[in-house]
Subunit: 265 residues, 2 copies
């Protein structure tokens, strides 16, 4: 399997994703938020680019079962129900609900990879579940066909990891998570990566015992610290604690939450 | 001083470089070639994007003092005088000559940063000379003004390092050289870098005792190895052995070759 890494949402524009699986990462905080929302029972998350788009879409929805979430400049958007802190997306708030979400980087990245055959969302919290989901779709000696294992099987379809980045620049938190995903997949399959993938998997290997320390100089992390989002950062850097694997279906994100041993993925 | 890193020539398009110093790196092999040509006495190197542009320009030049160099698919262009191996650019071949150069990645990167206030070219061979050149222009307690030290002084002008990349993708060799430059500048001045700069300076620090080993998985290096350019790779990974600092002047590259102790830079 070939894995390449794109360093920003902007760089994903103009790239041909057809025939590929795209994994979008925005650790701080969009993909951590979406994973948490789906893990906590949200029916679906609809990522949109602009505040106006979120408002227009909300106006067409059943407002008793729909929430608007997201941020601009890291802060909650006026009039919205939820900000961009994953800690807000509790079972009580989002269980059974549709969440319309707009963020500065993450929802942009998702919208820029819509040409991919499949779009999966990852963060530190669900990295092992995502890696497992991708690896299980690879051909194996004991499961030669789709039908035999009941999978929507795509063989060794190439993977492109899209780091959302921050304000058009590469962000170290997303890169570290990309390195983690590559390392997890390398443990289970023969993986070839591009140069950025090589660098990031090496970075993860050297940093995995202390992610916070490895990210101490990261611009986005320092910015969220300065804004007082310490608990968010701590939460977003927890690894492999949820099994939600958010998948993009048309323009809707919906999770297939099953245990890692589940037969339906 | 602020240093940011751009990972490909393509990414440099559309970025506003005004007010900035751009350092372009294409280790394998354009900036190594240009540095070598200028170190060996070439009068100037003119980087152009296309083969047609090189031919048209050549037709207007004194052909007794002008050479055409460059590559497509890593190989010498038919009818040209020189390929893209720095070992060809000897004093005997290029001394006193103008070299019109077109390469796949490097000359593209140079042309994409022309909006910068200053464009400097770097590779492993002249990294210390380039770092010294940049640092000497910073304000110092004992040289508060331009006039006092005879410098074309720009104070703490921000630096953008542009890695040329390979076929639109980040290339580890360029990244490692960017990390080296940042580390060299950090030794002499207070430097802030973006997240990619942080990652690359860390990579260089961990790799500096064996650059070839650090680059063993690098796509571009493997490709040149396969084509038999082993001596080129060895040459391009030699560090700090020349003092040429190629500077872009209008559309012409010309070097200011002086010793590191020289008072004219």
């Amino acid at each position: 399997m070939s894995i390449s890494v794109i360093s920003t949402a902007q760089q994903a524009q103009g790239i041909d994703f057809s025939g590929k699986t795209a994994i979008v990462i925005d650790v701080l905080r969009a993909t951590s938020v979406i994973t948490t929302a789906l893990e906590n029972g949200a029916q679906e998350v609809v990522p949109v680019k602009t505040i106006e788009e979120a408002k227009s879409l909300f106006a067409t929805c059943d407002t008793s079962t729909t929430l608007r979430g997201g941020e601009r400049n890291a802060l909650k958007i006026e009039g919205f129900d939820l900000g961009n802190s994953p800690l807000e997306y509790t079972q009580e708030r989002v269980g059974g609900k549709t969440v319309i979400l707009t963020t500065t980087n993450g929802t942009n990245a998702i919208n820029n990879v819509k040409g991919a055959d499949e779009v999966v969302l990852a963060c530190f919290r669900n990295a092992a579940a995502v890696a497992d989901y991708i690896i299980r779709r690879l051909p194996r000696c004991d499961s030669p066909t789709d039908d035999a294992v009941g999978l929507s099987y795509h063989g060794s379809r190439d993977v492109v990891i899209v780091c959302a980045g921050t304000e058009g620049r590469f962000s170290l938190d997303d890169g570290l998570c990309a390195g983690m995903l590559i390392e997890l997949m390398k443990q289970e399959a023969e993986v070839e990566t591009d140069d950025l993938g090589l660098l990031l998997s090496r970075f993860y290997n050297e940093s995995k015992n202390n992610l916070l320390n490895a990210l101490s100089g990261c611009y986005h992390l320092k910015r969220l610290f300065a804004l007082g989002f310490y608990d968010d950062i701590k939460f977003c850097l927890q690894t492999n604690c949820v099994t939600a694997v958010p998948l993009l279906e048309s323009r809707t994100l919906h999770s297939r939450i099953v245990s890692l041993q589940g037969s339906d993925r």
